[in-house]
Symmetry: C2
Subunit: 330 residues, 2 copies
């Protein structure tokens, strides 16, 4: 069945892609087999991250940019990652709301998803969906995420070009929170550029870019685009900025370096997640976790000793495994 779905996705079936993404969200076992089969067909799509504060107009901007990209004949996939409660698991934006706008174009695939669990989170979810859309034959994938806290950084883990969207008048607290923005922005977008304060914000961002250029020797200086997404103003220029960045990445060799670095981080992250699943299962099913927690509560054991002892046990057994392997090989 997974084989069938993989084949359908490679033929461009949106329906099969949607099914696979649901499996991924549910951590359905079938997803892994399917992803394994799709993996060799991934890596071709160009991935653009769009991040910024809530209320910055990212959805409208993303949809508008998708329309501009479609005009050059490229196929587009959109992933909207919504921060959501891990308790309720619900996304804020329904696919239906977003669909209305672009639903008439069969070459655009849109998916909203909620970042649920504690482990993996946005980065894992987005990385998986990007692969599905890539295998589906999309040329450009837009990932839209509310940039708050860690998510801001996580988007760097999936996007080739990261666009940071700012808007005038959101207040100092929100803007200054984004301490990591200078590091992750490949392209700045000042949306709602017709609002009061846009020029001041523009000047502020440009000054910071200049300051940053003095502090660090950088080959790429992030351009600042002004847009009014609701009126489709400035979107062509934004797309040109993204294309310039893409050209820079390819010519400098950074494109491959970045992807290699991301692949490495992704591999580690996946091992990290799976390790947790297995460790938890073993400790819980054996009753060892409960026994340890009793001792911790009674202060007869401390968590640091528990941690060291448990890991040392795994470590020495892993050396045992290697000895065993060497024995059988010799």
């Amino acid at each position: 069945m997974s084989v069938e779905y993989a084949a359908q996705i490679l033929e461009g079936s949106h329906r099969a892609a949607a099914r696979l993404i649901s499996w991924l969200e549910d951590e359905d076992e079938r997803a892994y087999e399917c992803m394994r089969q799709l993996y060799p067909h991934t890596g071709r799509a160009y991935v653009i991250g769009i991040t910024g504060s809530p209320g910055a107009g990212k959805s409208t901007l993303t949809n508008g940019l998708a329309r501009v990209i479609r005009q050059s004949g490229l196929r587009v996939g959109i992933v909207a990652v919504d921060p959501s409660s891990p308790f309720t698991g619900g996304a804020l934006l329904g696919d239906r709301v977003r669909m209305n706008d672009l639903a008439d174009d069969p070459d655009i695939f849109i998916r909203s998803m909620a970042t649920r669990g504690f482990l993996g989170g946005m980065a894992k979810a987005a990385a998986d969906v990007v692969k599905v859309l890539d295998a589906l034959g999309k040329d450009v994938i837009l990932i839209e995420t509310v940039g708050v806290g860690q998510d801001e950084v996580d988007i760097v883990d999936v996007a080739d070009t990261t666009c940071v969207v700012l808007v005038p008048g959101l207040g100092d607290a929100i803007q200054s929170m984004k301490a990591g923005i200078m590091e992750i922005a490949d392209v700045f977008v000042i949306n709602k550029a017709d609002h009061a304060g846009a020029d001041m914000l523009n000047a502020e961002v440009c000054a910071r870019i200049e300051m940053d250029a003095h502090l660090r020797k950088r080959e790429w200086s992030a351009p600042v685009n002004k847009t009014v997404a609701v009126e489709s103003v400035g979107l062509d220029e934004m797309w040109l900025s993204i294309e310039s960045h893409r050209k820079y990445l390819l010519e400098s060799g950074k494109f491959y370096d970045n992807r290699r670095e991301r692949t490495s981080r992704e591999a580690l992250r996946m091992i990290h997640g799976e390790l947790f699943r297995v460790v938890r299962e073993q400790l819980e099913q054996s009753g060892r976790l409960d026994a340890a927690v009793e001792k911790l509560m009674a202060k007869k054991l401390d968590p640091y000793t528990l941690m060291r002892d448990t890991v040392t046990e795994w470590l020495s057994s892993s050396q045992c495994k290697r000895r065993h392997d060497e024995d059988t090989q010799s």
Copy 2:
């Protein structure tokens, strides 16, 4: 040396506590020995989490609440967890800024810390610092954190009572983002209650609480407090609400249940974190990670197979260890 510091912390030395927290932040080996010695002396302090959007006035509220609590003779510790860029590692609020306000009181200990890395994050950092302040003899520990994305949930992992701070006029996008708020709030605080829109926000929150009570049978219904923190208005009532919740937890038996659950999660988190650290180190130092990444980039291997194989190796080796144990025992 760790022994000395542990003894000094148990005697109430703020200086020794500050040193230990720095060790924890730097992942200095000495921290663990010290924490091991302190652990039996922890679990006495009551932990209050204060979370809300940037700009909600949490720092002023936290400082004001600390003053109210001090009036009843209790010793107070404050931990301000700042979301910060893992690139720059810097916290937004310096200790000095906050110190000015409360520095004259030797029974208040204040510490700002940045949640740095991707792994562990706020929950681990806060859990460690809470233990230090607990061992230091603080009766009440206030943890202030910008509630965005996952952090909102993480605070539940350390706090006995979680206060969610809302303010009028921050816009729909920000308020509605907080989909998880109903689940984590033990006490609601509407700060800046003298601003326009406070009554509407109050009505909105009350309506949601009522709706929530219909949907789920809950024993505890979160009270809604109105405060004007800059004028110290409503802080006594906020403290009363927190005390009511504490009483409810103790009488219902939930206090112990919650702490047990948190201890269990913490143990898992620590074991997993350490195990991953070791696995990563081995994969990196042996060159196996690099070799795997090469194969991934060439699409000769997929990350799902890599993940399963790597974890299975550790898993089966752990079974090997058990077999070894059985062999030596028989």
